[in-house]
Symmetry: D3
Subunit: 171 residues, 6 copies
Amino acid sequence: LQLPAFDKETGKLNTIIETSKGVRNKYKFMPDIGLFALDKSLATGMVFPHDFGFIPSTKGEDGDPLDVLVLMEESTFCGCIVRTRLIGVIEAKQKELSGKIVRNDRFIAVFDKQPTYADVEELTDLNARVVDEIEHFFISYTEMEGSKKFMPLKRSGSRAAQRLIKSQMSG
Amino acid sequence: LQLPAFDKETGKLNTIIETSKGVRNKYKFMPDIGLFALDKSLATGMVFPHDFGFIPSTKGEDGDPLDVLVLMEESTFCGCIVRTRLIGVIEAKQKELSGKIVRNDRFIAVFDKQPTYADVEELTDLNARVVDEIEHFFISYTEMEGSKKFMPLKRSGSRAAQRLIKSQMSG
Amino acid sequence: LQLPAFDKETGKLNTIIETSKGVRNKYKFMPDIGLFALDKSLATGMVFPHDFGFIPSTKGEDGDPLDVLVLMEESTFCGCIVRTRLIGVIEAKQKELSGKIVRNDRFIAVFDKQPTYADVEELTDLNARVVDEIEHFFISYTEMEGSKKFMPLKRSGSRAAQRLIKSQMSG
Amino acid sequence: LQLPAFDKETGKLNTIIETSKGVRNKYKFMPDIGLFALDKSLATGMVFPHDFGFIPSTKGEDGDPLDVLVLMEESTFCGCIVRTRLIGVIEAKQKELSGKIVRNDRFIAVFDKQPTYADVEELTDLNARVVDEIEHFFISYTEMEGSKKFMPLKRSGSRAAQRLIKSQMSG
Amino acid sequence: LQLPAFDKETGKLNTIIETSKGVRNKYKFMPDIGLFALDKSLATGMVFPHDFGFIPSTKGEDGDPLDVLVLMEESTFCGCIVRTRLIGVIEAKQKELSGKIVRNDRFIAVFDKQPTYADVEELTDLNARVVDEIEHFFISYTEMEGSKKFMPLKRSGSRAAQRLIKSQMSG
Amino acid sequence: LQLPAFDKETGKLNTIIETSKGVRNKYKFMPDIGLFALDKSLATGMVFPHDFGFIPSTKGEDGDPLDVLVLMEESTFCGCIVRTRLIGVIEAKQKELSGKIVRNDRFIAVFDKQPTYADVEELTDLNARVVDEIEHFFISYTEMEGSKKFMPLKRSGSRAAQRLIKSQMSG
């Protein structure tokens, strides 16, 4: 996937959606095959709260590309590229099934070519409850996955988010 | 609504669906108007895990008709009558916003005219994880509603469920 | 339900939709309660090919109101009134589970306020394959219901359909 | 429908949804029958931009109850009661097919029990483009209905909207 | 994408769908990456009236492959190849945001393996209102995009459409 | 598509979904282009009863990869890889339009990371009616395709299914 994390001309954050808003199945890109696979399914009653995917050309502490949630008016589909405005990050740690604790941030971006998100530049421009619900979603869904645990650390704005991404560029 | 809890001829449990599986909005019947109203909306990322409604001609400790979840292959719609086979109950207490603790059982029934649920007669005929996910859903969604709290007590089979309903018939 | 089969002013055929196109669950109006109930569910892989319901103020040989399929561009919902143009009928007999054979016609109407069906006045204005597929649907779904059997007799146009309805007005 | 325009205790605006967001068919309540009917269908490519319905116990210049758009996160269904916060009105005139020009305001309300609209108290709290798109929708869809014409006059806030509704209470 | 505009054996027109019927988001193929990107989103209340995409191995005056609308009974998905019968073209000019006016035809094709479109060979075989609605859609949606403007010139049949495509083959 | 039929580490059966449950359009992978094409559309009223696709690195008697149905709780999308547990096969012959009779088995697998199918290891662990409905679906849909005919021979368990796949590995 020859796509940089940030578009050179516009500075927009590139994202690849894996799981759309409202979907219970979690999909994952298989870079060696070029297709997406069904990875797992959330407990019934839980669905992704926003389009969810990864930032290309990055690599997080768990070896996977960095995770990103994209807020927009109509959801897209698995495999779709969305150029977004990065507004912040929920910094977090996650206890894996192995017991190991790794950094597992959730970056937050908006599709800003729509009126609902046109004026949103920072995480704090959203109603705080929107972010509470996102955090609760990640806590709640890992509760149903054995000893896994999602632990939010703090919420940071667009600049901190950008620094965090730039420090985890792959290749 | 002139409908008994149990059908006289067949013994089937009558249910009125208020919120379908996969829906985030919780609807509530307004008996004086004869229509359904949008009551509240779950936190984003949460949707009802199965068709959810009430048992007519009953009245629980909180003053509302008893709650019921109906498992079936294709979900129905708000206002639909479904005649079901009662298979059990998640006995529970709920701490209300007022701090008061009231009994708030969730009865479980199946639409048995479909192969997936044709052989399910008791809660224990379901994979235990199905019931775990239902309990987790009720715990998780009340977590996002201030000081409200859902506390499962125990799981009981069809007979105990029937007794509990019969002891809470209204009128 | 105080609604005549034919609108007095316009001559349009009144219909009440019970099951929308694409839905697998068959719903049925409960006149004494004023709500719709889940009656049964088609075998998996089968869904209603068009909005399906009944003609008010009629009563067929099986004691129920006459069945009608309404062709339109976007489907409606259970309980919706649609004023239509009657274009014909698939005259048919049906062998019931009891072994008894009763007349069980399927009337065909269109919602003519949309371009796709604006010019359709008779069953023969549709591509014959559209009607073949409808017949096949009714044959195929009764095949999965024990000894039930749907037997098409012939296809007739709007006049014959109108006469058949008028001869089965209730009250 | 025994429902006042404004709830006595909370002051909330009562609305009855007829057509959900994303739906192309326009439905209309039939007060004498107690059901909703398919009234017409928008031109293909047009769908209602938000849940759309009427304010009970009101009567506008065209003889129908007043129209209202309700903004919320997940749409509801035809026949649903939604208690809302009134935020304003697009005051408008409409040229009917008969050539007659009548007042035809579109009231705007939000379901405020969800984070997206929790802080929206006035029409001006929305991005102006959201209201532009609503106006454009009404202009554009009447363009496809012969000589009908929707003419926005001005946008007013919650107080003016409330006065306009109170002056058009029926009964 | 190694796919000719016309299939050599059957003469069918190859199309690649980018945006399905009923979708508000406009997607665009990124040939260098091999994925589709969210390009923009229509104003709320507007959705694509039919599956919309491009004709491979062509290049229009605006530098992009030629646009095509494919009429069929059930819509497909972004990235799907549909082999179609070309029935005509809405010849048009478009004023771009830059002020420049370029040719921007919309070719019309049908998926003819379904009864609804089995007999449609020419644009004139469709109800004229179907084409009116398509034209109105393109006019209406560009109205909401600043100074952009879609100007239909004339409607032509399958032969003229074929000539226009053949004269704009790339490579 | 560099994907073996069976995963080397886990022994899971790899499948590529072409048509999701509930979809009427049948899609087909075009290996030379790397995209999926709309192949045909079932008769109206028929939709795929479960996610349907092929087993990579296999080749059946008809020259195509082997067909597989994957049972799971929420359907996936065209092009998705699903790693499954193989539970059996409906062995069958099919009369093609050419009159030629070829073997055309339908392998059955489950996505076992969900409670509904967690305990299903053999075809006989499903309610027999589930398999009856699948067979009826294939019989019924080929009935509408001219002289084509689907003839089930027998149902076999996971071992026989595995042997059949292993004997039809390509390359």
